[in-house]
């Protein structure tokens, strides 16, 4: 089973939940898909056993063959190529790597080189397998690295995907193909507003989902009213406790120091399994 953990709003406790869940259950594989700011490993200190750089393909132009006809520039939907008489300019930060320019060039002047976009690290802590990507600073195309991280999914395990915040491309890339999505929110107007957006995305993608309310007790009751109205199950509440916040700040998954939570995370996983119908 593949379970994604997402939120809409940032900083609601996705990583904390994903990590505590992964260490509470058997045979888990945790993939941190927040490649812009991967944090799960900070809570787990895994022994890294493998590192692999990831590249994306970027066109390079052989100016001896190019006659500046402009067909590639006209084709490129991302405005990554500009041709003026006697000159061709390429903006790699806008390139999505679709390869269309190569197909359109009548002179076969464009070939593909590669540019490093980040690195994928694999390791383990006790029985838990962890995989995470680190996007190179200044590199915009996070989704591609997410896709590479997800290629390492081991379906024989209980797979937990930690998604980035927001609802745009890298989030979609993460949750795509999941059996279930756990949405971590906080009971505040910001938490609710962004929860509604990600729920809409999951409805469109037909991915079953449920909510975990983190920092329960702060804010107001509107998240609960919304979930009730939509029929979205509230899977767990984690109260606002200074101890939990302090443990997180030191990089300690709180269920290690507060073992009563291990049972709750196991139950959460069983409930998700039941909802998925396994």
């Amino acid at each position: 089973m593949i379970v994604a953990v997402a939120s809409g709003k940032g900083g609601t406790g996705k990583t904390s939940l994903a990590v505590n869940l992964a260490i509470s259950i058997e045979n888990a594989q945790l993939l941190d898909c927040d490649v812009e700011e991967p944090n799960a490993h900070l809570l787990l200190n895994p022994k890294i056993t493998r590192q692999e750089p990831v590249y994306r393909l970027v066109p390079s132009v052989n100016e001896e063959l190019c006659d500046y006809c402009g067909k590639c520039a006209a084709f490129c939907q991302y405005n990554a190529i500009l041709t003026v008489p006697g000159k061709i300019l390429f903006f790699p930060e806008l390139c999505h790597g679709c390869g269309g320019c190569i197909l359109t060039c009548p002179k076969k002047a464009i070939s593909e080189g590669r540019s490093r976009i980040g690195i994928i690290k694999e390791g383990f802590t006790d029985g838990l397998r962890i995989i995470f990507g680190e996007l190179e600073v200044g590199e915009p195309m996070a989704s591609l690295l997410v896709r590479e991280v997800k290629r390492r999914i081991d379906k024989s395990r209980n797979v937990i995907l930690d998604a980035p915040p927001g609802t745009s491309c890298p989030v979609i890339e993460t949750v795509k193909g999941s059996d279930f999505c756990i949405l971590v929110t906080e009971p505040t107007p910001f938490g609710l507003h962004d929860l509604k957006i990600i729920v809409k995305v999951l409805e469109d993608m037909k991915i079953p989902h449920g909510v975990v309310v983190n920092r329960a007790g702060i804010g107001d009751k509107k998240v609960y009213e919304y979930c009730k109205g939509k029929g979205i199950p509230i899977l767990l509440e984690i109260p606002y406790q200074r101890r939990i916040a302090e443990l997180y700040s030191r990089g300690v998954p709180f269920s290690l120091e507060m073992p009563e939570w291990t049972d709750k995370f196991q139950k959460l996983f069983e409930d998700v399994k039941e909802l998925v119908g396994n």
């Binding site: 609601t12 927040d34 939907q77 915009p140 795509k176 469109d204």
Partner: protein, 289 residues
């Protein structure tokens, strides 16, 4: 005109709280909410929309089934796995590149524009606001961020505002890059947690990469003072100024529940005072007054 972006790397550290507070303190600035896929600033600043524009950021492939001969070449050439096994387009994967359209031997594929969101120009109590809403699940948020920034710039020129305050998205990817390029300063809001520190380092690297002058604000500094000291040391070693430290106070959440900036809700509380001090320092550093 000066531009300053509030960013963080890690989400939920208090970017929007601080941006809204700055908007109140600045009085006649233009505020831009560049977190276009999860915008929250409007819940504190209550913009009155003056102008709405459709944003057509991306295209999508459409296969004409009556023409399609099921050869599967489009599926083979698509690098985004956006053509399904039964040769339909998966809208969540399609990046609108158009490769499928040029490789189709029978011209069965066309690209259609889709409305991916809306950009707004609005009036707020403290000046003007440029903001947007990306349709749920849409791609190309970086492009919409660029539209919001252009709108903010035009507004600032028209209204003769000397400052644009930009609320950035979390992370360091495409929409964040679009939010920081060409600004005068980046204020990284962090928190004293292991994650906060890690993400702060990457956010500062990003600002340096794009030649933007960095400043740091430690929010909720008192939840772990050891980590706050670590942040101060790190900043000192890297010649970045810690321009403000804000204590943890539940009043921030209370203000949010009441739809107000903390400066309006509780102007005398410690959080409001410390944000005001930080604002004064920032104004001096950037010669804003």
């Amino acid at each position: 005109m000066k531009q300053i972006t509030i960013l963080s790397g890690k989400g939920g550290t208090g970017k929007t709280t601080i941006t809204a507070a700055f908007a109140v303190l600045a009085r006649e600035a233009v505020v831009a909410d560049c977190d276009v896929d999860a915008p929250d600033l409007h819940m504190l600043l209550h913009p009155e929309i003056l102008e709405t524009r459709e944003f057509r950021g991306s295209k999508m492939a459409v296969i004409n089934e009556s023409k399609c001969i099921k050869c599967g070449i489009c599926r083979e050439k698509c690098r985004f796995d956006a053509i399904t096994q039964d040769l339909t387009v998966d809208p969540f994967s399609c990046e609108g590149c158009g490769v499928c359209a040029i490789v189709c031997p029978v011209n069965a594929v066309t690209l259609t524009e889709r409305i991916s969101g809306y950009a707004y120009i609005s009036k707020i109590k403290y000046g003007f606001m440029a903001h947007a809403l990306l349709n749920p699940g849409e791609s190309n948020s970086g492009k919409l961020v660029t539209v919001v920034r252009q709108n903010a710039k035009l507004l600032a020129e028209r209204e003769k505002a000397g400052l644009v305050i930009i609320d950035g998205p979390p992370g360091i990817g495409c929409p964040v890059i679009a939010s920081v390029t060409g600004v005068d300063a980046g204020l990284v809001v962090t928190e004293p947690t292991m994650s906060g520190i890690h993400d702060l380092e990457r956010a500062i690297q990003l600002l340096r990469h794009f030649n933007v002058r960095p400043f740091v604000c430690v929010n909720m500094y008192d939840i772990n003072e050891d980590n706050t000291n670590k942040i101060s040391r790190f900043c000192k070693e890297n010649s970045v100024e810690v321009i403000g430290k804000i204590p943890f106070n539940p009043v921030v959440t209370e203000a949010m529940v009441n739809g107000k900036s903390v400066m309006e809700y509780s102007p005398k509380c410690d959080v409001a005072k410390d944000i005001a001090t930080m604002w004064d320092r920032l104004c001096r550093e950037l010669s804003l007054r």
